[in-house]
């Protein structure tokens, strides 16, 4: 089965187009490992910062009928311990790993890049788009094409690994931002990060459910937004796209591919369908291919690009 799902991505041949995205089950080497064992073709580390961060006080997640709000607050053990987990993962697995990093300025991104250069990571992902640390850090960098250009350009100059820019859905024109990232030399795009953010209220206690008040939306509710933005980015750039946002089923993954994604992230669905979700979706993709007469993933057509 897996042969038919083989996908080429930036010189790698991955066994499945499914990606464990940043922030999901990736605090430890064993979280990455079990995701890979369950069918993820690529895994991503938690977004690592220079210093360790404990994240926000709970509640950090709030579920509603159509998805999830989260305000984890970028908790991570810091770049050094985080890369140790990545390296330990690479001891046991040949699954490619994306190292996600977060910072708010060029210097910090460069320092993070230098750390990642010395790790066993396969790709470097710049999280320019966390919507949940607004109070701390302001509007995400990915909202400004100039910031995106500046940071990607600088990181590309020093990174030994291919660079992926993770973009925000909360922008007025994704086309501009995607083009800025490509022009600056990004090897691939990853979108979308969580949407909004949003808020939910406990009506008995008259309090926001999340202690941070606001949290980014993920899960089924954001799929149409993700598809639209991926399609717009795909229409504008020539570099490959890791598409994500609300993918729960094989059918969702096929929509992402048709919208222009080369790889597909599956995050919140790990909650809805278990850690086995990767294998389940892999099988559903195969089933779709059987039903529609496609032998290989690359035969699945994409929408005509927007003009």
């Amino acid at each position: 089965m897996h042969n038919r799902l083989k996908t080429k991505f930036l010189g790698f041949e991955v066994k499945s187009p499914l990606v464990l995205p940043a922030g999901i089950m990736d605090m430890s080497f064993s979280g990455l490992d079990i995701s890979a064992k369950n069918g993820a073709g690529i895994v991503t580390s938690k977004s690592l910062t220079l210093e360790q961060r404990s994240g926000y006080k709970g509640p950090v997640v709030a579920e509603f009928e159509s998805g999830l709000l989260n305000a984890m607050g970028l908790c991570n053990p810091g770049i050094v311990d985080g890369l140790a987990e990545v390296n330990e993962f690479k001891e046991r697995s040949d699954t490619p790993v994306i190292v996600s990093v977060f910072a708010t300025n060029v210097d910090d991104f460069l320092e993070l890049t230098n750390h990642v250069n010395k790790s066993r990571g396969d790709f470097l992902e710049l999280n320019l788009s966390c919507p949940n640390v607004y109070d701390e850090f302001g509007i995400p960098l990915a909202s400004s094409k100039d910031e995106v250009f500046k940071i990607v350009k600088a990181v590309k100059r020093v990174s030994k690994l291919p660079v992926i820019a993770k973009l925000s859905p909360n922008v007025l024109s994704i086309t501009e931002i995607a083009l800025a990232a490509e022009e600056a030399g990004a090897d691939a795009l990853c979108l979308i990060n969580t949407v909004g953010p949003g808020m939910l209220i406990d009506t008995k206690m008259v309090k926001p459910v999340l202690f941070n008040k606001f949290g980014g939306l993920s899960g089924p509710c954001i799929k149409p937004i993700a598809l639209k933005l991926i399609y717009q980015a795909y229409s504008a750039v020539d570099i490959p796209i890791i598409g994500m946002g609300g993918v729960c089923t094989g059918e969702d993954a096929i929509e992402m591919i048709m919208a222009g994604a080369t790889l597909i992230g599956v995050g919140t669905a790990v909650h809805f369908r278990g850690i086995e979700v990767f294998n389940k979706i892999n099988e559903e993709i195969i089933q779709f291919m059987d039903e529609n007469g496609f032998n290989e993933l690359s035969e699945i057509p994409k929408l005509e690009k927007l003009k």
């Binding site: 430890s28 709970g58 509640p59 950090v60």
Partner: protein, 260 residues
Amino acid sequence: MDKRITLKISKIEDETKDIKTFTFNHKLNAKPGQFIMLTDFEGGEKPFSISDCSENEFSITVKKIGEFTSRLFQKGVGDYMSVRGAFGSSFFVSNGKVLLVGGGYGSPPLYFLAKKLLKAGANIAVVNGAQTKDDLVFCDRFSKLGIKYQNITEAGCLGRKGTSVDLAKGALTKEKFDFIYAAGPEMMMKALQGVIGEVDYEFLFERYMKCAIGICGNCTMDPLGIRLCVEGPVLPKKIIEQLTEFGKYRRDASGKRIRY
């Protein structure tokens, strides 16, 4: 969907000077070993094992140790608290001859288990330990069940001096058990594992929990990537034997490893 529900505290019982049992009127449908996430929306949402659960109410038994639990201790009957759950795996309910080994605030979930075991017809012995007499909980409740019950403190204030593992060791040399359950400090369970021999067992583990729905990865145990909030907190022998981090380290809120 894991539905959140906001409930009034219906009863508060003092167990020791820093352990209280909080009861809520709500049909939770929990199984022994499962936990809830509790918050007052003032900062912090924390996991607590269910220490009792009937058709219309459930309880948790909490030790005051930090910011959240201190605030919880100031709440009164009628105050709102918000609950998610019940989450996680539950204890296997045996009908054989079983030994329950509790330590500190780990014992209460074993009380909920004992009630279920009784119903299933098991032959139950409980050993319950704590540092001092003041830390020992649920003695009365266990006793009232009419099962074999022994307790012990490290300070020796109740006569016997030692840990619940010492009592377990004693019981295990005298009698043959079909199944052993334990909940309490990790090092207690580690020590217990050393004296269990061939008997099958399940332990209740604690790791730092944030989402409780299996996505943040904070509660995974190495090297299996077992999520304590989904595959745990109750783990079976065949999993526990593979856990290299058991008794060695855990992770804090940032994911950093903390050695025991």
